[in-house]
């Protein structure tokens, strides 16, 4: 498998996920191409994070199929990265956290130092390079998690509610970062329950509600004219779920 080969498109075919006798995701089908920034939108409990975890391969669907254009699990893993709502940072310095990801990724030692520096610079963390990761502020921790994910040059970057725990200033910094990563050619797939964020970032929307995918449309269309009642209610800010 050549390192430049693409793992996209990602295809969900009638994917279902059941846990504890409850059907949490039901009959989800969609296809994601490289390019547009995809935002999975929906109220809490709609199954957005679950969908993201399934796509990233952290959990297996109980029905249906998830396919990439490659079937090699190691290659797939190496071309994806994920930023969690509450990222786990290792008990070492900020720089060492990025170095660790690169070393797992198989980046030769001599290249790592420059890549770590580049990732820290990109995320505005250069001054904090030697600071223990765990004492950083919430916003800095999230930026470090993005730096760590970005450093391995993923083709697809998943972000699960990356700003849910952050204040507006930190949120803006993260959103700017996400845009710049998308502009450099990385496919962004992120979840959010924040309408404003979806408007600012999305090129296309996957609208989830109660474990089902209700809409998959370009963002402009979705916000101008949502097709389903649930989406309309969500856009009006009604608490119907």
């Amino acid at each position: 498998m050549s390192p430049t080969a693409s793992i996209l498109p990602l295809r969900f075919s009638q994917v279902g996920y059941e846990a504890g006798g409850k059907l949490l995701l039901d009959d989800i089908s969609f296809e994601l191409e490289s390019g547009p920034r995809t935002v999975i939108l929906g109220p809490n409990g709609a199954g957005k994070s679950l969908g993201l975890r399934l796509a990233h391969g952290l959990i297996e669907p109980t029905s249906g199929a998830i396919e990439w254009s490659s079937a090699d699990p190691i290659f797939l893993r190496s071309k994806q990265a994920m930023v969690f709502e509450r990222p786990v940072l290792l008990r070492r310095s900020a720089a060492a956290n990025i170095d660790y990801a690169l070393s797992i990724h198989g980046t030769p030692r001599r290249e790592r130092e420059t890549r770590v520096e580049a990732a820290l610079t990109k995320t505005g963390l250069s001054a904090l390079a030697e600071r223990p990761a765990r004492v950083l502020s919430a916003g800095e921790r999230q930026r470090l998690a993005i730096a760590r994910a970005w450093a391995t040059e993923p083709e697809v970057l998943f972000l699960d509610e990356p700003t849910a725990a952050l204040d507006p200033a930190a949120t803006r910094a993260i959103e700017t970062l996400i845009c710049s990563i998308a502009d450099s050619g990385t496919k962004i797939v992120m979840t959010t329950h924040d309408l404003g964020q979806a408007r600012r970032l999305a090129d296309e929307i996957l609208f989830f509600s109660a474990g089902r995918l209700l809409e998959h449309t370009p963002a402009a269309d979705f916000f101008a004219e949502p097709a389903t009642g649930a989406a309309k209610a969500f856009l009006r800010g009604e608490l119907t779920w």
Binding site: H56, R91, R134
Partner: protein, 234 residues
Amino acid sequence: MDDLLGAIQSAIRLMLTLDPDLIEIVALSFEVALLGLGLAALVGLPLGAALALFRFPGHNLAVVAMNALMGLPPVVVGLFVYLLLSRSGPLGSLGWLFTAKAMILAQFLLVLPIIAALTRQVVADLAQEYDEQLRSLGVGPARAIPTLLWDGRYQLVTTLLAGFGRAIGEVGAVLVVGGNIAHVSRVMTTAITLETSRGDLSLALALGIILLLMSLLVSAAATFASRLAATIDG
């Protein structure tokens, strides 16, 4: 009461005069306990982490056995090592019986299950928190062992202290395999046993006080150092 006062006095006297016999006994006690602990940590830390991270047939049995072995009676370990090292035993040709080496081996076996079982718990707890992140990064269980041991280092200090406490304080195993021979295999606990049986209660108590102080000092220092480092590290 007189015994206790006398003991405290003679303990202070022994310590202040740096009694050479006492220093020899204390030094050997620490040497044996620390080496036994070091070897047990070398094996037990990765073993415990592996038990936390790998699933295999018989896994539950291994965990239960490991936990049960934490309560191994020291004399039984002593007896086992004695049989191993006795002239006719499988390792008899080493000539280790009644030497410090035999005592280190016995304490290694005694401390190993403690380190492994407590490490398994620490790493298993940590693994829950780290699981998705590590899998997302592409870290397999084998690579996760050193990662989680390192990230659990502050909790693991307590694990090592538990092992040290077991090693420095036990008498059964070192007595059986060491024989409490003066200048060869006499440590604090075996000396206390001897002095008590000889009726020299004040010397026995003095040694007991020193043992207590030393253990307290070691554990306080280790706890303090790791707390401090943990605070700095977040």
